[in-house]
């Protein structure tokens, strides 16, 4: 079907170990990227940007981060919302403190700040694991949100405690603020996610990623064969928090434009990202994207079908939407406990063997 592997030979290790070893899959990937970079910007409007695609990209970035920590290194974290808040507030302080700094670097630096905070909160992971670690990260969630609500320096002493993103440009085109054109914010987020997904994919295939996976699979065995648990765990917290912080910075500056800590970075955001990672597939880059897509697009789709398409009352639709999304999560986890990424993996196997799958 999609895959015709006949004649697709590899004559060196580099070709054999590339991310997409199957030629048709490589073409599919590049075609999708070409579509995303070259076609979508010409058709995107405010609605698709603010309600569908930018949310998808931001959550995919956050899910990538959590997947590195939970999926690859096996450290459960419930602090995602808090770390996103660190990214957002770092972004806000940098934007207002250094108005001339390019927003691209602001987002990267925000990720860096979050990485430091993440390492700090990752220290308990050296002594505790599993549920106990989850509780420790939960403390991070509550502490960080409380901190940003309590200390006025973080929100520049504004009367309401809200932070608002000023306008910042790249090559003279606004990517934050109210006048930013939808294609610009979309391309900015897409480029960010593309670059960092690329890096994540290669990090997880390299020495660092392998040490994470060794720790995940059995930390004592990993330690015996020479993986340093401290280095592996703290680096996982750092990298993961970097991604989550960058996602938080994009979430605040590009997508929302204004935020208040208790609502935008509450515990429900931590769970949302955790659900994305679990439904998408733990330990899979593709899974982060599939999980984010499932949990951001499904509610919007259901709402439009029920309210826009069928004309139901909004409250009825909202309640049914909650039930349906919950039901679908249970359904997918029963059908495929390893997430949507595994579903795709199985489908790919079948497609490669098509028309004689067994």
């Amino acid at each position: 079907m999609l895959y015709r592997e006949t004649g697709d030979f590899k004559s060196n290790y580099a070709a054999d170990q590339q991310t997409f070893p199957i030629k048709s899959e490589r073409y599919l990937f590049w075609a999708a990227m070409a579509f995303a970079f070259l076609v979508v910007p010409f058709f995107i409007n405010d609605y698709w940007e603010k309600s569908v695609i930018v949310p998808l990209l931001v959550w995919a970035m956050a899910a990538l981060g959590l997947n590195i920590l939970t999926g690859y290194c096996g450290q459960v974290s419930l602090g995602t919302g808090g770390f996103m808040a660190v990214g957002a507030y770092a972004c806000y302080k940098l934007m207002t403190g250094f108005p001339d700094l390019n927003i691209f670097f602001v987002v990267i630096l925000s990720g860096g700040v979050t990485a430091l905070v993440g390492m700090l909160f990752g220290l308990p992971s050296l002594r505790i694991k599993g549920f106990y670690l989850a509780v420790a990260t939960l403390a991070a969630q509550f502490f960080l949100v409380w901190l940003f609500n309590k200390v006025p320096w973080f929100y520049n002493y504004s009367a309401s405690g809200q932070i608002t993103a000023p306008e910042r440009t790249i090559f003279g085109i606004a990517v934050t603020g109210a006048t930013a054109p939808p294609w610009a914010t979309y391309l900015f987020c897409l480029a960010m996610v593309f670059i960092f997904a690329w890096i994540a994919r290669n990090l997880t295939r390299g020495q660092l990623g392998r040490s994470w996976m060794a720790i995940r699979d059995m930390d004592i065995a990993a330690e015996i064969i020479g993986v340093q648990p401290m280095k592996a765990k703290i680096s996982a917290f750092a990298v993961s928090s970097f991604y989550i912080g960058a996602a938080g910075a994009l979430y605040f500056s590009v997508w929302l434009g204004a935020a208040e800590p208790t609502e935008a970075f509450g515990i429900d955001k931590s769970f949302l990202v955790l659900f994305m990672v679990i439904i998408g597939g733990l330990g899979s880059i593709l899974g982060s994207f599939l999980g984010a897509a499932f949990l951001t697009l499904m509610p919007v789709l259901l709402k439009n079908v029920m309210v826009g398409g069928l004309g139901w009352p909004t409250d009825l639709a909202a309640h049914i939407e909650i039930m349906l999304v919950g039901g679908l999560i249970v359904f997918f986890l029963i059908v495929e406990p390893h997430g949507l990424a595994q579903l795709w993996r199985l489908a790919k196997e079948k497609l490669r063997l098509w028309p004689f799958p067994y």
């Binding site: 569908v52 009367a159 809200q162 000023p166 603020g177 006048t179 434009g257 204004a258 935020a259």
Partner: protein, 429 residues
Amino acid sequence: MKLSKMAIVTAMAAMVGSTPALADLVFPSMSYRTGPYAAGGIPFADGYADYFTLLNERDGGINGVKANVIECETAYNTQKGVECYESTKGEGALLYQPLSTGITYQLIPKATADGIPVHSMGYGRTSAANGKIFSHVFNYPGTYWDAASIIVNHILEENGGDVKGKKIALVYHNSAYGKEPIRTLEELAKKHGFELTLVPVDHPGQEQKSQWLQIRRERPDYVLMWGWGVMNQVAIKEAANIRFPMENFIGVWWSASENDVLPAGEGANGYKAVTFHGVGSDFPVFDDLKKHVIDAGKAAGAGDQVGTVLYNRGLYAAMLAAEAARTAQAMHDTKDLTPAQMRDGMEALKIDAARLEALGLPGFGPEINVTCENHGGPGLGAIQQWNAADGKWVLINDFGPADRAVIDPLIMEDSKAFAAENNIPERCN
């Protein structure tokens, strides 16, 4: 089979961006009938929808053009609110009433860039009252800062003008909304010499034992409340539990509906709140509502909210919107409005006692006179008190003014800071 699956997928993809039919005067209603704040969102949304239904049924619309209320569920959630805004603005939306301070903050820059007016009636960003800076945002007839000042005026009145050394505690929803009055109260504390204690309550406010323990320990003379949703009823119940004198417990207008006081039963008797509109259903317009909307089976929601405080507020918001649309129609000599014309109508809105009488709402609210400079309206408010025996709110004084000498400089300062941050030139010169 594959093809039909593809067809379903494409149809669904198309529906993600689908849009309902167009209508003449579009008033999106960003409602919340679900979530922890639904008890407040439902009556407001019903009142808002019912008033437009009344206009359509009784008068055939506004000057003959039908009004179309598109409801969109926000669940008081900022992201959903933004989604609602983006999905409805393409349908000729004339005016947004976000009904959430968080969503209002999001929409102020967006709607200004899109040229669509926002009316945050008695909530939102207080300094938007300065029309010189905020061209598309209106918060008449009053702001949180007015509310804070009117409450303090009431306390002054009760104490013969001297509150020196008195302790006043503010119990507030720990969000942009709840923090709004703090600045003003701090200024007023300096001016009148009372002592202000801040007691934050985190969303959603179901658990307030520690806060009320603090109040019990510190024994403030008065407690003010900036709460919303389930937080209100919990606070009033807790206040009753610690036997705090209810007549010294004063809420903002969002902490003063039947939903908030009924759960505390007799204990809530005497609870006070500031309000900017009348209470009850003893107004002629309710007879029309009953005849044309409720008995005709066209009421929004369950139809059981008529005459409650928040229903009245939704109705009042709809009335102000309809009157602004009428003003805009007269100004621009057209029947179909654009958002820009609607904005002009709001800026020129004048509602006097005679007009209120003609609308079937005599004495329902203060007179309103919006100008280019002042988008915050008269800033008048009255105090209402709960009578638990009759199950009724009663106005205990007339609509009175806020302390402009304190509030106006604060509005100037905050809006100037916003203008400087965002490079906004002053208008109205």
